[in-house]
């Protein structure tokens, strides 16, 4: 195997060879440079020298200068990663300096993220004003730059070659100057090498670098963080000179917590605690390391480092897995390329069926290609053949997206169809019982659907149909020759049948006038209906009979708890006695097996179900939601629906549901390279076999999570490849395959896994798992399990460093996971898992749970840790600068000024909080009413009034809504002190504050800290 492997590697080694040539010449000089450098700092033995060299190298990043070296240096390790193969074989001595390079990657990688805590920049000004202490590390700075100056030298060529791709990525003005400095560094180093005094040129260099941060906001926070860390280190290990030097190389983050239990002084700087105020950050940096990977918007691993052994997996206590968002909307200019292989057929590995992708390699002069997942050598079809260049790369690689891009879409030939592609099909099941009539639901639904008829995808093939129900089923005949529809009532609920063989689901173009006539008269049709019953079960059976020939999307509008026929449900949401007992979870699972059985039937016939629930009473979302859960659908919940209040939200969410990009009759599979496989999947789908997800419909707003496991005790490969394949029918009637491909390195070092961790993906997976656990366990147990995972993870991390470093009373964590504790606290406090019976109604809890199962990462993070903005100060600013001035605030009551106007946004709801001392005229202008009249704020409608403040305010709302159009926030207004609405709507969302039975962020951190030390 090795010889062929060697042959297969020509392309990458080829480049490395060209880079390696200077490297081969350089190794001796850095070692020689180390020689003269060693005597002054240490008088100890040579082994400590090599160990000390790496720490010194790592010490530089914590300094302000490190920020400037971060971006370019992150490429260095990548370039160095490949050479070790050959050097290891041919040059054992050079191995020593190369092994020191990977560890230094961490600090460099952390440099850019350190810019995130911009919100804490102001607090950090205080430590910033203590330059004397910060000069300490700088005094030590010059010596470590020695090896750094030497190390980059051999990689100057790869650095320069990577400069081009890097600069476009940066884009911003500040980064280019930052990048320019490293170029001068090597030059200086070379100057130093001839024998120039080491300290003199370094010291002046560091001073200008230090002054640069003064002008740029981002660098100071990192500096302050370093200072903070160094202060702690200094205090705990000051006396021994050796200890001080060792502490300078800590590559983790830490918080100083009081180690004295029961101390009155919390010992924690509350304002300094990490907060994700910039929201989710997609790990786009990975694209720089793996340019052929698909964009993180489609595929994110919980850690972009696959453990090499089972023992390593057992030490990683966070989930190992991925979040997949197969149809994520791409920005303009980044559309997914569509490829039609034509007569060549889809190029796939004949053994593991992986689709050809950029990581596949070609051999035998282009006549064969090797699968990157299973390494099988496949034949290249004649129609697909292309010659290879000297490096083994096809000449047409750049012209073939499937060979140069991580995300592509193939047009599928007929063998990928089991039947002609289905037309988009929408069937509406509408409750017309008295509660639906009186709430104004029918009018809004009819109007919204009518307004979307022109935008339903799939023209002119789109199919549409309606069925209304109360105690009977009302089918509607939309035969195109009719001037208006016929209502056909089937009252036999025990033996449902179709009143017509056709025309219940019709082509929209042909029957447009009949459908419009129906929508126009729907509200009036049932205006006098006083029927209080709901035969939803029989109606679902009827809908199934109508749709089963074609499939499509079934939208259920439900207003009354199903009370007649099969699938009737009983009131069970009020059973408070169940909470806290072993039977608690039964309230959150379907009561009647009918709904799960129905869901299975729907999925089998390519029918996805979306549930729109409107009741003011208990609706048993737990039961109804399972229809959406197993068919790839969605649950929308509008508790106590009233037309004036909820109209906009329902209108926009229904419109979005009907018009967003949708994939029909889909199946999705995620393939992995050797040694790993996905074992569990979390989301809305039906699992058809061990690894095939059946999705009657999937759209651009749905994400799925899954967990990985190792199949082998020891991984034998250096890289693991993943490929997501979604086979679907497009709305235009084309059968397609969307393919996302990604690669991740296999690592033997646990710290590397921590370094590459993706908090967003981890939280998404943890959230889904927690929701699922709540279906079989008590909420309290679920929360405890979350906390336990966090503690074990941080404890394991602590163990990595406790031996070499004096951690003392500090809580340490990797830069990549600094928000994890807060996010886990937020998950415990989110609607789905919060408190107990009295805290969240059962329906709302279940609806939130169903939402968490499908939300993409960014939306999920904002749902559990909502965005809080102060608005009144922004209203008077220039309108075109609003987005620049909206700053997220920590979720704690202390951030609320009694004279301020605040907006809380979790993606589903806008909550406007009016401070008690807010100027009355401001309230008048925005709300259109005076608080002096004690209006019922629960009925306030936020509309644009005729004044500047109101216009700016509505502009802010529009801006926030447009950032994510997949949901529409319901606007609510609450006044400071207005109970119980304030507690329920606002205080319960202040994640960092202590509430009955829950911890504040500070308490939580201290709790976690104590447990990690135990």
């Amino acid at each position: 195997m090795q010889p062929p492997m060697g042959n297969e590697r020509p392309p990458p080694p080829g480049r490395t060879v060209s880079a390696f040539v200077p490297g081969a010449a350089v190794p001796p000089p850095p070692f020689a440079a180390g020689g003269p450098f060693a005597p002054p700092p240490w008088q100890g033995v040579p082994p400590p020298q090599s160990g000390a060299a790496a720490p010194h190298f790592g010490a530089v990043p914590p300094a302000a200068m490190g920020g400037f070296r971060g971006p370019p240096s992150s490429q260095g390790p990548f370039g160095a990663g490949t050479p070790p193969q050959r050097p290891f074989t041919s040059a054992p001595p050079p191995q020593s300096p190369f092994t020191s390079a990977p560890p230094s990657q961490g600090p460099f990688a952390s440099a850019p993220p350190s810019q995130v805590p911009f919100a804490s920049a102001q607090p950090s000004q205080s430590p910033f004003t203590s330059p004397p202490q910060s000069q300490g590390p700088f005094a030590a700075g010059p010596p470590p730059t020695g090896p750094f100056a030497a190390t980059p030298a051999p990689f100057r060529s790869p650095l320069s070659s990577l400069a081009q791709p890097q600069s476009p990525t940066q884009g911003a003005l500040p980064p280019p100057p930052t990048y320019a400095r490293p170029l001068s560094q090597p030059l200086q180093a070379q100057g130093y090498y001839p024998g120039a005094p080491p300290s003199n040129p370094q010291f002046p260099m560091s001073r200008p670098a230090f002054q640069q941060p003064v002008q740029n906001m981002p660098p100071p926070p990192m500096g302050s963080a370093a200072t903070f860390g160094n202060q702690a280190a200094y205090q705990s290990g000051g006396p021994p000179v050796g200890g001080t030097l060792q502490s300078l190389v800590e590559d983790f983050q830490s918080l100083s917590l009081s180690s004295v239990p029961g101390s009155l002084d919390p010992g924690v700087d509350v304002k300094g605690l990490p907060r994700p105020l910039d929201g989710d950050e997609e790990p786009v940096k990975l694209i720089e390391s793996y340019p052929f990977n698909c964009h993180p918007r489609y595929f994110r691993l919980t850690t972009h480092a696959i453990p090499a052994s089972q023992s390593l997996v057992s030490r990683w206590h966070l989930p190992l897995g991925a979040v997949v968002h197969p149809l994520a909307e791409s920005p303009d200019g980044e559309e997914v390329p569509v490829i039609n292989f034509g007569s060549a057929g889809v190029i796939r590995c004949r053994r593991c069926r992986t689709y050809i992708n950029p990581y596949a390699t070609f051999a035998d002069a282009g006549r064969k290609w090797r699968c990157n997942l299973c390494t099988l050598l496949n034949d290249v079809p004649g129609e697909y053949f292309c010659a290879l260049d000297a490096s083994g790369r096809r000449y047409d690689t750049d012209q073939r997206p499937e060979l140069s891009k991580g995300t592509v879409e193939f047009v599928a030939p007929t063998e990928y169809m089991v039947r002609p592609p289905m037309p988009p099909s929408y069937f509406f099941l509408i409750d017309v019982s008295v509660s639906a009539v009186r709430s104004g639901l029918l009018e809004i639904v009819a109007k919204t659907i009518k307004s979307c008829l022109d935008e339903l995808p799939g023209f002119p093939r789109t199919q549409i149909g309606f069925l209304t129900f109360d105690s009977t089923l009302h089918f509607h005949n939309f035969k195109s020759s009719l001037s208006q529809p016929q209502m056909m009532v089937v009252a036999d609920l025990d033996d449902v049948f179709l009143p017509l063989p056709d025309d219940l689901l019709v082509n929209l173009v042909d029957s447009r006038h009949v459908v419009e006539s129906f929508l126009d008269s729907l509200p009036n049709m049932f205006h006098d209906n006083v029927n209080v019953e709901s035969a939803l079960g029989p109606a679902l059976k009827a809908a199934f009979m109508v749709m089963s020939q074609i499939g499509g999307k079934l939208l259920v509008f439900q207003s009354t708890l199903p009370s007649l026929g099969i699938g009737r449900l009983r009131l069970r949401g009020d059973d408070v006695r169940a909470y806290g007992t072993d039977k608690e979870h039964t309230l959150r699972v379907p009561e009647d097996p009918f709904y799960k059985q129905m869901a299975a039937e729907f999925t089998k016939n390519q029918i996805a179900v979306d549930i729109f629930s409107f009741s003011e009473k208990y609706s048993d979302i737990a039961s109804l939601g399972s229809l959406a859960k197993y068919t790839g659908g969605q649950v929308y919940h509008y508790p106590s629906f009233q037309a004036p209040t909820h109209e906009d939200k329902l209108k926009l969410e229904l419109s979005r549901d009907l018009t967003r990009e949708t994939a029909w009759e889909s199946v999705m599979r995620i393939r992995c390279g050797k040694g790993v496989r996905f074992t569990t999947y979390h989301g809305h789908f039906m699992l058809r076999s061990t690894d095939l997800l059946a999705l009657p419909a999937v759209d651009s707003d749905k994400a799925f999570a899954m967990q990985l496991s190792l199949e082998e005790t020891l991984m034998t490969t250096q890289t693991v490849y993943f490929q997501v394949a979604l086979l679907y029918t497009s709305s235009s009637g084309e059968r397609r395959i969307r393919v996302h491909t990604a690669a991740a390195p296999v690592v033997t070092d646990l710290s590397e896994m921590y370094r590459q961790a993706d908090t967003g993906a981890i939280v998404s997976l943890l959230g889904r798992i927690a929701v699922e656990n709540s279906l079989s366990d008590k909420l309290d147990s679920v929360r405890q399990q979350l906390q336990l995972k966090l503690v074990r993870s941080l404890k394991e991390y602590r163990n990595l460093y406790v031996v070499q470093h004096r951690i003392g009373g500090r809580l340490i964590f990797p830069e990549s996971l600094k928000f994890l504790p807060l996010y886990i606290l937020a998950i415990c406090k989110t609607l789905a898992l919060r408190g107990g019976y009295a805290d969240v109604s059962l329906d709302e809890r279940c609806a939130a749970g169903f939402s968490m199962m499908i939300l993409p990462v960014k939306r999920l993070l904002n749902f559990i840790y909502p965005s809080l903005y102060r608005v009144d100060e922004v209203l008077t600013m220039e309108p075109n600068k609003i987005d620049g001035w909206l700053k997220r605030l920590p979720l704690t009551f202390q951030c609320l000024d009694t004279g301020g106007l605040y907006l809380l946004d979790d993606g589903f709801t806008f909550l406007v909080w009016l401070g008690r001392m807010l100027p009355p005229e401001l309230v008048n202008n925005i709300l259109g009413v005076s608080l002096a009249n004690f209006p019922d704020l629960s009925k306030i409608l936020l509309r644009e009034c005729d004044n500047e403040l109101s216009r700016n305010f509505m502009k802010i709302l529009r801006y926030l809504r447009e950032k994510d159009p997949s949901y529409h926030q319901l606007s609510l207004v609450v006044r400071q002190g207005e109970q119980p609405r304030e507690s329920y709507l606002l205080l319960s969302n202040l994640v960092e504050d202590q509430m009955a039975g829950t911890s504040s962020y500070v308490d939580w951190i201290q709790q976690i800290h104590r447990q990690t030390q135990s």
Binding site: T472, M488, V489, A491, D492, F497, L500, P501, S521
Partner: protein, 415 residues
């Protein structure tokens, strides 16, 4: 007979009416004296009676009597008639059927040899009584309107359905404006049209394969007296004079499914315009799927709920045999011929017994409700004179309705 031309009238006047003024015609005009003589008559001793025949205008029959008839004591209950012997002095009359002695009631106290009521006149062998209302002459409440529930078979070819629509339009044009009309169409399934739903066409659908009881029909139409769980209990309507002679509980049903011609003429016209042959596919080599039994059950059930004890009729226009559900007489498979007399004789018709049982039950129900079922059948199955029959159907429907309406103008009779 109404087509008789004026030239025939004089001839009729000249020739004595063989049925006589009482519309009773006997095979023998004398009664045999003994059993032996009766047994010797080869022609059986019998009579034909036409109780509803319109009297000859030339006959000297008295006008309808505006009071209830006087009856003999139970169990005879025969009415006072010219053949009764009367003792004017003792105010007693002897029944000629049972020879019981009956006393005249007080309101007959004025009777005497010179003051005899009309029903005792020797020449008044046939009389009519008006018994509606409180019994006060000329002050009776108006009778309930006539009800026509049409049951139309849609398992026919487009052309035939066109003729049916034409006939229906003519028929409804003949109906008095206050007559109540309902519409049931059927094929594979039964469609009961809710004519009172004005927003759009609304139809209640019943499965053709399933036998359905009267109570189930009422339940599904939400016409049960017990009330439907789907509707909150309506406040009890104040007890008062019955509207239009009907109970309040059935008014809702009447307003939904049976409407006066004047109110539903437009709706009916639109419905007929849009009426289509049955849409359910028929396999090759098969007869149409026709659920006549369920259709008639639904019609009978509806009338039973809305018009109990009131004159109403179901007019069924059938285009072929029942092949589905209860009342099925032949299977759908064309390879099985419709039964013949020979089959019936040899008890070789597989569906006959069940069908008879079903239709008997239906008949009993209709009888108990006091409703009439008229069937216009045009079975083209294995017959090829389609056009002739279709035209005949139209003509007959037309004449029949004319006759009935004309007859309806007279007061209802007990006999």
């Amino acid at each position: 007979m109404w087509a008789a031309d004026p030239s025939a009238a004089p001839a009729a006047a000249v020739v004595a009416d063989p049925d006589g003024p009482d519309a009773v015609r006997l095979t023998w005009n004398t009664w045999p004296r003994s059993k032996v003589e009766a047994s010797r008559c080869v022609v059986p001793l019998a009579a034909t009676i036409s109780p509803g025949r319109v009297p000859d205008p030339s006959a000297a029959s008295p006008p309808p009597l505006p009071y209830p008839p006087l009856r003999c004591k139970a169990p005879c209950s025969a009415l006072l008639n010219p053949f009764a012997r009367v003792d004017f002095a003792a105010k007693i009359w002897i029944c000629p059927f049972c020879f019981s002695r009956n006393h005249f009631p007080l309101h007959y106290s004025a009777i005497s040899e010179s003051n005899v009521p009309a029903e005792l006149f020797p020449q008044c062998s046939t009389v009519e009584y008006i018994v509606g209302g409180a019994g006060v002459p000329g002050v009776g409440s108006s009778p309930p309107p006539p009800v026509f529930l049409f049951v139309i078979d849609t398992c026919v070819i487009e052309e035939e359905l066109g003729y049916v629509k034409m006939a229906m339009r003519k028929a409804t044009a003949l109906l008095p404006e206050h007559a109540l009309v309902g519409l049931v169409t059927f094929g594979t399934q039964v469609h009961l049209h809710e004519l009172g739903f004005s927003d759009l066409s609304k139809i209640y659908v019943f499965r053709g394969t399933k036998e359905i009881s009267k109570d189930q029909i009422l339940d599904q139409l939400e016409l049960s007296g017990a009330g439907r769980p789907g509707f909150p209990m309506m406040p009890q309507q104040p007890s008062g004079p019955q509207v239009n002679g009907m109970h309040p509980s059935v008014t809702a049903g009447v307003n939904r499914f049976l409407l006066p011609v004047s109110e539903c003429e437009c709706t009916l016209s639109t419905l007929l315009d849009e009426l289509q042959p049955d849409q359910w596919p028929v396999e090759a080599g098969n007869r149409a799927i026709r659920c006549t039994g369920v259709a008639l059950s639904v019609a009978a059930g509806l009338l039973g709920a809305c018009m109990p004890g009131t004159g109403a009729m179901i007019i069924a226009l059938l285009g072929g045999p029942c092949t589905e559900g209860p009342g099925m007489i032949v299977s759908k498979d064309l390879s099985e011929p419709v039964r013949s007399h020979k089959d019936l004789d040899k008890d070789a018709a597989p569906h006959f017994q069940k069908a008879v049982k079903f239709y008997d039950g239906l008949a009993k129900q209709l009888v108990s409700q006091g409703h009439v079922l008229d069937v216009f059948a045009s079975a083209l199955d294995q017959v090829c004179i389609a056009h002739c029959l279709v035209s005949s159907l139209c003509l007959h429907l037309h004449q029949y309705l004319y006759f009935f309406i004309h007859n309806q103008k007279r007061k209802s009779r007990i006999f």
